[in-house]
Subunit: 329 residues, 2 copies
Amino acid sequence: MAENRFDVVGLGSAIVDVLTTEDDSFLAEHGMTKGAMVLIDEEAAHRLYDALGPAREVSGGSIGNTIAGIAGLGGTPAFIGKVRDDQLGEIYAHDIRSVGVHFEHTPATSGPPTARCLIVVTPDAERTLNTYLGIAGLLGPDDIDEAVVTSAQYVLVEGYLWDVDTAKAAIVKAMDLAHTAGNKTAFSLSDSFCVGRFREEFKTLVDERVDVLFANEAEITSLYEVDDFDAALAEVRGRCELACLTRGEKGSVLVTVDEVVEVPAVPTELVDTTGAGDLYAAGVLYGLTHGKDLQTAGRLGALGASEVISHLGPRPEADLKVLAADLLA
Amino acid sequence: MAENRFDVVGLGSAIVDVLTTEDDSFLAEHGMTKGAMVLIDEEAAHRLYDALGPAREVSGGSIGNTIAGIAGLGGTPAFIGKVRDDQLGEIYAHDIRSVGVHFEHTPATSGPPTARCLIVVTPDAERTLNTYLGIAGLLGPDDIDEAVVTSAQYVLVEGYLWDVDTAKAAIVKAMDLAHTAGNKTAFSLSDSFCVGRFREEFKTLVDERVDVLFANEAEITSLYEVDDFDAALAEVRGRCELACLTRGEKGSVLVTVDEVVEVPAVPTELVDTTGAGDLYAAGVLYGLTHGKDLQTAGRLGALGASEVISHLGPRPEADLKVLAADLLA
């Protein structure tokens, strides 16, 4: 394997989050399923936004969050995703570049606006996502920068991209480019509702193209339609090189053919779960691309998740390099 | 005095804040004076933004913060200010309307973009402001909605507006409309650098048109070019109906011809001073327009300031009605 320019290149939807806190009654009133991500059109986005209280805007998107976390740990990641030449696009590009992520994209000068996700955080710290994809819904094979993809140790893709019609070809292209170059692929199941929409395709993808899989308990049991975590673990074991299975406050399990490594969660005050899985993936991928063993990689993931759930917003606000100093040494 | 539709109508710059945290060395490197507000042009705004770390965007602007705080306490305020029909303009209008503020403005369809303020918060919680005024810099007499201004108990104006050439005529128009309607005026000195730029004009304004003045210690000593707080207090006393003078953790003093009312600060963990003076003014103005005595009005101000400095961002995030329940009873 040649020397790679990047640790990880992420392929995902470039989304600015619009974060608000509301009571559970708000979800009921607007027919929302707590914890789920649904796609909405521009009109619905405006209607919902009008109903929401004051918000804060921060760059988000599952893969973008992971990639920003890898940069925060001192890695050298890249991101591929689409924005428009509008103010939200400028915010997105600024935020991801300012933490040191390679993001070469030229904003589109026509088409729908930059994606936004209206996030309702309820008092139990759970987040419910309403995404207007905008220009991010046009991600396609032509957006795959071969030079970037083939010079990264890992290509990371999110399940959410399956909702983007033209993205599937882009994902396959990116994953195959990675493998041809002797590099690896990582995939996040995104959420259990997403798994429900694309179960068979995801199972095939895991069997055929995924080296490292990220999933939480609900996602992995849904994928294999089993009743409990242990059955899901047995099912996924050996289907990919490494499965990283998260269980909230119960910690996570990293599973290879040879090993089952249990990693405790890092306790913290839970404020907003947005980005928990994304920052877990960031820690693990940083570990894997920096010669750490599975236990250390898992602990880096647990630390990333712990930081991001302790405040409102999907990306780290503390210096991860400082927080993880012992693990990075 | 006829029944008024609004407690307070605020006239100010409609600004979206771009909040980041940086070390003091960042200020030095970019030639910034800590604690000051400077106006920058669009090119400088882009240059500075490129140098900043990841940010969060939240609606701000001194008067908008005060008006949002009055709404948060259960009042019925209105806001007058200019935005463009761009994404930041949509964010600004959403945030202020969603807390219950009357904001009738139709976004401009041409001209410069919505204003933004790049805010650098240093580890000592002090904020340094770099404002690109954009369309907010075009506020003029034609933007004054007479029906709104004449049906508010108070017209509130910020010193910062003096930097907007066309705004002075708007301020005089609004204040004179208020007085003709038998209503009152309130004025915030904004910051000591602003006082330095417009000292003589501000002194004349206080003498001739201001009923309630808001100033911190640095601003009021600068206005009257005196060495200490007591001298400033003696100087301002009687020049306006009420002067509300804030002193950070030392609390505030409310001064009329007949009374000097001292109010303690509400202790809290200091995170970001952005909006402290604005939320103090919100509490006082809510109190004055809801039949509270000066001590209670001052305590409402102290409570508002305490809430807003306990988190990053210029507007209340907790429910002020709950926090202030005892004072509002």
